[in-house]
């Protein structure tokens, strides 16, 4: 399981790649959105290592054993629930949702993905959603 530093290195790497694709002109709204989401995930997973959640991978495995769920929620859904339920994370719930929705539309080319497929959407995901997540995690000394 990845340690705090590994999550941070990957998060920053993803963010740099998204930045390169976005600036000065957006060359791929699809990839900027997807990579921004994966950058956010790594920042959040790094933060989790400093909370009782610990490693999300292990938390998820334990949850599946403990709850004996018939339909297993995805790891992204579990992360979403942790964010929604912890007052230290809820401030960026909306941003996580923006990034997740955009990323899923592009990755699976869901009907209507063209609805998001523009530079403005990708730029807002990168400049607002991802940056707010980072900012809030920093403000709470998680990263």
């Amino acid at each position: 399981m990845a340690a705090f530093n590994e999550h941070m290195v990957q998060a920053e790497h993803n963010e740099e790649i998204a930045d390169i694709l976005l600036n000065p002109d957006c060359t791929s709204p699809t990839w900027v959105t997807v990579i921004a989401f994966y950058s956010a995930i790594q920042y959040i997973e790094a933060a989790f290592t400093k909370t009782p959640v610990g490693h999300l991978e292990q938390y998820y495995a334990d949850l599946r054993k403990k709850k004996d769920l018939k339909h297993i929620p995805s790891k992204h859904t579990v992360m979403e629930y942790i964010i929604a339920g912890d007052p230290k994370f809820t401030s960026f719930y909306n941003c996580y949702r923006d990034l997740r929705i955009g990323s899923e539309y592009f990755r699976y080319l869901r009907p209507g993905y063209t609805y998001f497929s523009n530079d403005k959407f990708a730029r807002q995901c990168f400049e607002d959603s991802l940056q707010k997540i980072k900012c809030d995690l920093k403000a709470n000394n998680f990263i």
Binding site: K67, L69, K70, H71, P73, T77, Y81, A84, P87, T90, S91, Y93, N94, R97, D98, I101, G102, R110, P111, G112, T114, Y115, F116, N118, F121, Q124, D128
Partner: protein, 171 residues
Amino acid sequence: MLNGLEQSCSASNIGIYSFIQFALLGELKKATESIKGQRRHNAEGTLLKYFTDMGINGDYLDINTSEEDQAWRRFTRMMIDDNMLIYQSLEAFRIYNEISEIYYSLEDDTVEFFILIDKEEYDFNFMHELFSIERIVKKMWDGKYLDFHYVPTNYIDRSILYGYHIGFKRG
């Protein structure tokens, strides 16, 4: 306190829809007034307890419920069965004119909603309003995972809705 309420509350004597709407607007007095029925006083007492743990934080409403304090979830669960929870969940969204249709599926552990939106592009502010409601709806369900999917009405491939129940259709 909850035991007494368990015997006295039913879905019909609380206006969850109005309650949520007024609460989101910060109209705490009107929200408590939306509670109806003979046992209003008891129900109001419980909900007032939550108002003290409730705050408008930016664009959304926070109802703080710790792992130890599950009373809010128990409160909604004991008075509302799954079908009624579906109904209440839909009610919270349908006030938006931009929402044209809502579909859902209810499995043992998960509930999925497909919310069709009459918009031509992703509207961050509008979506954040929906996410605020989404968070409240999640808290109304106990022990189930909810997944919300938002799809533009004009672009949806309706075959993906096969097997889902229609919950709401405008007009």
